[in-house]
Amino acid sequence: MPVKADPQSAEKVIVEGLAEVGADPSEITREATFEALDVDSLDLVEIAQIVEDEFGIELVGDDVQGLKTVGDVIDLVVRKAA
C-alpha cells in the first residue's frame, strides 16, 4: 500500500530512485541538477513510476515540466501529498 509522503520519506525514495536509474550516488543532493546528474526524460518517467508506487501520487507531464533539481521533485511530491 502507498504511504503518505513527507519531506524525509520523499527525499529517501527519490534519492534511491535516482541511484537506481544510474545517477552517481555521491553527487545526488537537493541542489544537484538533472543535467549535471545526466538524468533525462526517460529517467524522470522511471522516477515518476517509483513515486506512484511508493506514495500513490501521480506525476503527469505538466508537473514534471520545468523541474531542474532533485529538490524540485522532492518539493513537488511533498506538495502533492499535502
Binding site: G22, D38, L42, E46, Q49
Partner: protein
C-alpha cells in the same frame, strides 16, 4: 572507384569467452563453450565494460555488441579518435530477434502490475536496431546506420550491406557485425516447439547423430574501411572482404530448400564478386547448424557451387564450439574465419564422429589442421567463404581473405 574493402579490426564476445583472440584460440584448441544445453557467454559481465547507466539502458544483445565493437575499434586504432569525419562512418549491425529478454520482462510487468508500470526504457531496450544505435552513439558515428533483420543470416547480411556501402563511396568506413541474446523462456520454448533445437543439447554439425541446433548468445563486430582510405592513414589490416553473395530460397518459412540451389548460387555470387574460382579457396566456414535439414542441404549446396573441389576443402562449423548465435552467427563466424586464415589453421568441427550417407565432405574432425601453404600462383594470401542461411530462406555468403 576503388572497390577494395579491408578489415582493420575485429571483436567478439562468445560462449568461448571475451575477445576475438579467445574465440579462435579456444576453438582451434577444440574447446566447446556449450554447457547445460546452451551456449551462454558465462565469462561476460557487462559491468566490466559499461557504466551502470549504460548497462541498464541496453538489453544484453546491445551490451554484447558494444563490447565487441569497442574491441574492434581498439584494434583498428580508433580508440582515441575517429580517423574519418564522423559523417563518413556508418554502423550496420544485424540481429535475429533483438531485445526479446526485455520484451518478456516487460510483458510480465504489464500482466502483473498494469500498463502504467511498463518501463519507459522498454522500447529502446527491445528494438532490433538498439545495438546499432548504441554503438553509433558511443563512438559518435554519424553516417548511414541501421539494423539488419534476417534471422540467422543477419550478421552476414549486415557485413555484406556494410561492404556495399563502403564500395558506394558514401562512407570511408563502417562498424558492422551481428549480435544476439535470446536464450529466454519464450524463444527457447518456441524453437523447441518447432523441433529446431537439439533435445540432446549437443551441437554436432554434419554428424549422423545431430538432432537440432543449440542456442547460443554473443556478438561479433568488425571495422571495415575503404582500402585506399585505410592505406592513406597508414592503417594495417587483418583481412579483406573480397566478395558477397545473397539469395533467397523462396521455398518455405523455415526449412531450407533441400536442393541447395539458391544457397549454392549465393556461394557462386560471392566467389564471382571476389574474382575467385573454387580451387582458390583454402577453407570453408560452414553455416553447419547441427539440424538434420541444414547440414544436408548445405553439403549439397557446397557440392553444387564448388564442384569436385568441395571434397578437397577443409569445412568446419563454428557452431560445434559455441552453438548457434543466430543473428550474431554470421558476424562471429566471419571474425573467426579471418582469424583462422591468419593463423593458417582450419579449426575442427568439434565432436564430429559419425558420417552419414551423402554427408561425405571433409568436416575437419578431431583437431585443428594446418592449412596448406597459399597457392604459388596466387598473391600469397589465403581465402575462405563463410556461409550463413536464415529462416525465411535467406542465404548470405561472404568471401574473405587474411592479410
Amino acid at each position: 572507384m576503388n572497390r577494395r574493402v579491408v578489415i582493420t579490426g575485429t571483436g567478439a564476445v562468445t560462449p568461448l569467452g571475451v575477445g576475438a583472440d579467445t574465440l579462435i584460440d579456444r576453438w582451434a584448441d577444440g574447446q566447446c563453450g556449450i554447457s547445460d544445453g546452451v551456449g551462454a557467454c558465462r565469462e561476460f559481465d557487462p559491468l566490466d565494460f559499461l557504466s551502470r547507466k549504460e548497462s541498464r539502458r541496453a538489453d544484453r544483445f546491445t551490451q554484447l555488441a558494444v563490447v565487441s565493437a569497442t574491441e574492434a575499434l581498439e584494434q583498428a586504432g580508433w580508440a582515441s579518435e575517429l580517423p574519418y569525419p564522423a559523417e563518413r562512418i556508418g554502423c550496420i549491425i544485424g540481429t535475429g530477434i533483438g531485445g526479446i529478454g526485455s520484451l518478456e520482462d516487460q510483458g510480465a510487468v504489464l500482466r502483473d502490475k498494469g500498463a502504467k508500470s511498463v518501463s519507459p526504457l522498454a522500447v529502446p531496450l527491445m528494438m532490433s536496431n538498439a545495438a546499432t544505435a548504441a554503438v553509433a552513439m558511443r563512438f559518435g558515428l554519424m553516417g548511414e546506420t541501421y539494423g539488419v533483420v534476417s534471422a540467422c543470416a543477419a550478421g552476414a547480411h549486415a557485413i555484406g550491406a556494410a561492404t556495399r556501402l563502403v564500395q558506394s563511396g558514401q562512407v570511408d568506413a563502417v562498424v558492422t557485425g551481428g549480435s544476439e541474446s535470446a536464450m529466454t523462456g519464450i524463444a527457447m520454448a518456441a524453437f523447441a516447439s518447432m523441433g529446431a533445437t537439439s533435445p540432446s543439447g549437443i551441437s554436432r554439425p554434419f554428424d549422423a547423430r545431430r538432432d537440432g541446433f543449440v542456442m547460443g548468445e554473443g556478438a561479433g563486430v568488425m571495422v571495415i574501411e575503404n582500402a585506399e582510405s585505410a592505406a592513406a592513414r597508414g592503417a594495417g589490416s587483418v583481412g579483406e572482404i573480397l566478395g558477397y553473395g545473397a539469395t533467397c530460397d523462396a521455398h518455405h518459412l523455415t526449412a531450407p530448400d533441400p536442393s541447395g540451389v539458391q544457397s549454392a548460387r549465393a556461394i557462386r555470387m560471392a566467389l564471382d564478386d571476389a574474382g575467385l574460382k573454387p580451387e582458390d579457396l583454402d577453407y570453408v566456414n560452414a553455416h553447419g547448424t547441427s539440424t538434420p535439414l541444414n547440414d544436408r542441404s548445405e553439403t549439397d549446396a557446397l557440392k553444387l557451387a564448388l564442384g569436385p573441389v568441395a571434397k578437397d576443402l577443409p569445412i568446419s562449423s563454428t557452431k560445434s564450439a559455441i552453438g548457434h548465435l543466430m543473428g550474431a552467427a554470421g558476424a562471429v563466424e566471419a571474425v573467426a574465419t579471418v582469424a583462422a586464415l591468419r593463423c593458417g589453421v582450419a579449426p575442427p568441427t568439434v565432436g564430429w564422429e559419425q558420417a552419414e550417407e551423402g554427408l561425405d565432405l571433409d568436416y575437419v574432425p578431431g583437431r585443428a589442421r594446418n592449412l596448406t601453404l597459399p597457392q604459388p600462383a596466387g598473391d600469397g594470401r589465403r581465402y575462405a567463404i563463410s556461409n550463413s542461411f536464415g529462416f525465411g530462406g535467406h542465404n548470405a555468403v561472404l568471401c574473405l581473405a587474411a592479410t
